[in-house]
Amino acid sequence: MSEKMVELELLNPRGLIESQPALVPAHRVGDLAGKRVGLYWNSKPGLDNFYTVFEELLKERYPTATTNLLRGAFEIRDDDVDAWVKEIDTFVYAVGD
């Protein structure tokens, strides 16, 4: 560095993020035939229409699959989770964002 150069030593303003192990997603169902497919939405308009079409297409391809639509909070509540997980095998989750 030239003698004329000005050097500024600066401290990093970013917050420490504590390391946490990455979780692995659940294993997939393989085939949707006969499966119970949960459809979660957070009440934002339009997702009901989206899921109506999705259910139609699902029934066409997997006539024995069933759907379980749950309308709830921005993020699913614990009390809803407890009941819902017993009623579904797999799920689609949409929040309109």
Partner: protein
């Protein structure tokens, strides 16, 4: 995203649908929730928001992603998904950064370029956080630089006194302001405060920071004419320090994981001001929150991004009386809050019953002359709360069936707290007057401004979407350069 991860952790395989505008936000949120390999299906924002209005219009979009959704639910996890990378930690980043230039001006310009390129700034020029300047900032507090006061969403960055000091330097604050900045950050990082909604939501919510007690005057905060405006280094840099500290410690960036669609009003400094202790006839706000009137405290409150705000008038154009302004205030509360009575019967949008959308908190700023007139009428803040609450009510016969059903639902669900049920049960009868607010405690009065001044309000949900509270007062302590806040 948190909900998707919650279900995956319970063994249910799923797919999260997000619009492409929110793709980076969703990816970031999957990291924040420790499951980076969550399966996501991206749909076009341009199409979804335009076409979602009916089954027929949305059909082509659903058809276009249907196979992807099925694959996401059925195709086995890939090796990469089975072995996802761990979360990036700060140790991966340098603790110090060196910039150079042929002059101080050039080096300072280079500092601003590097920090903004890294998304470590707020778009305005900043003061270089050199170790000397950070030590200078830390001289304003007796607290240890290593003390962690809490974590900032969305990435749960640890807010230490030193990290806050670095950001306070960048904001241009002075050391005597620093204890106030720490107190504001303590409120925001409280385990019950919903900082996520204000820092990341697509709604352009923003923050109110109100300083009360003797430290405000000691550090020369402005609380007279222009108190919410520019030109006041304490007000402006205290707010800016909180802005930079939340941005850098929580690690947010506009259009990446801070999705405020129109940005946040007053984005660089938030709404930061002091109560006008010289002219107020009343005790400061924090005295109503269990603190001594002579304490110095900071209150932070989330507010809607549009506004401020409802103007109840005063000022220098029209004539006014305290009674007229009180009437304006009451009528405004009735007009706005009765529209959401039907929502009281909803569980709400978050983990706490009644969160979002239903009842409100109102942070109401009164100008000193008005407060003086109200005092002549016999009011202090507490009796004013009771007066406004009782008058902000609708005759039972004027409610429509949805309103009544909403309130009754709120009572049954517990959205209306147990200690308030009797009020509404008594009111929901012929001849009853039904309050549009759940409790007088949802009214918060601050005295600020000069002569002449204006009265207006900020408003927000009584209960926020992602946590329990959205207004909190914390005491200033550890100050070394002021008499106030030194304990």
């Amino acid at each position: 995203m948190a909900g998707t991860v919650k279900l995956e952790k319970l063994g249910k395989p799923g797919v999260f649908i997000n619009c492409d505008t929110f793709d980076e936000d969703a990816k970031s949120a999957s990291m924040d929730n420790a499951m980076p390999a969550v399966r996501r299906c991206k749909i076009s924002s341009a199409e979804f928001y335009k076409l979602r209005g009916s089954v027929e219009t949305i059909r082509p979009l659903v058809e276009s992603v249907f196979d992807d959704l099925i694959d996401a639910l059925t195709a086995p996890l890939t090796p990469d998904e089975e072995n996802p990378p761990g979360q990036k930690v700060e140790e991966d980043e340098p603790a110090e950064i060196t910039v150079t230039g042929e002059s101080y001006l050039e080096a300072a310009e280079e500092f601003n370029r590097v920090f903004l390129d890294n998304r470590w700034g707020d778009g305005l020029p900043m003061v270089p956080p050199t170790p000397e300047r950070v030590r200078w900032m830390l001289s304003g507090t007796s607290r240890s630089p290593q003390e962690a006061i809490g974590k900032v969403n969305p990435k749960q960055g640890v807010a230490t006194i030193e990290k806050i000091a670095i950001n306070a330097v960048m904001a241009g604050a002075r050391p005597e302001y620093f204890p106030v900045i720490i107190a504001a950050m303590e409120a925001l990082t409280d385990k019950d405060y919903d900082d996520l909604h204000i820092l990341a939501s697509a709604g352009s919510f923003t923050l109110l920071i109100v300083v009360g007690g003797p430290i405000a005057k000691e550090i020369k905060m402005e609380s007279g004419i222009g108190f919410l405006g520019h030109g006041w280094r304490p007000n402006n840099t205290i707010g800016r320090a909180v802005r930079l500290a939340t941005l850098n410690i929580g690690q947010t960036w506009p259009a990446k994981n801070d999705m405020a669609l129109t940005g946040r009003i007053s984005p660089h400094t938030f709404y930061t001001f002091a109560e006008n202790a010289d002219l107020s006839p009343w005790e400061p706000y924090h005295a109503s929150k269990g603190f001594k009137a002579g304490d110095s405290c900071v209150t932070v409150a989330t507010t809607y991004g549009f506004g401020p705000i409802q103007n109840f008038y005063g000022g220098m154009i029209g004539t006014w009386t305290a009674k007229e302004i009180l009437d304006n205030m009451v009528n405004d509360l009735i007009r706005r809050d009765r529209r959401s009575l039907f929502m009281w019967g909803s569980k709400g949008v978050g983990p706490v019953l009644g969160s979002g959308g239903g009842a409100h908190n109102h942070m109401i700023v009164l100008f000193p002359e008005l407060a003086a007139e109200l005092k002549k009428m016999g009011f202090d803040q507490e009796s004013l709360k009771q007066e406004v609450y009782q008058r902000a009510a609708v005759q039972y016969e004027e409610l429509n069936p949805e309103d009544t059903k909403g309130i009754q639902g709120g009572i049954e669900l517990g959205v209306v707290p147990a200690d308030r049920k009797a009020v509404f049960q008594a009111a929901l009868k012929p001849g009853g007057m039904v309050p549009v607010l759940i409790s007088p405690d949802n009214l918060h009065f601050f005295v600020a401004g000069g002569a002449p001044g204006c009265a207006f309000s900020f408003s927000y949900y009584r209960i926020p979407p992602y946590n329990r509270i959205a207004i909190l007062t914390r005491p200033v302590n550890g100050a070394t350069l002021t008499k106030a806040g030194s304990l």
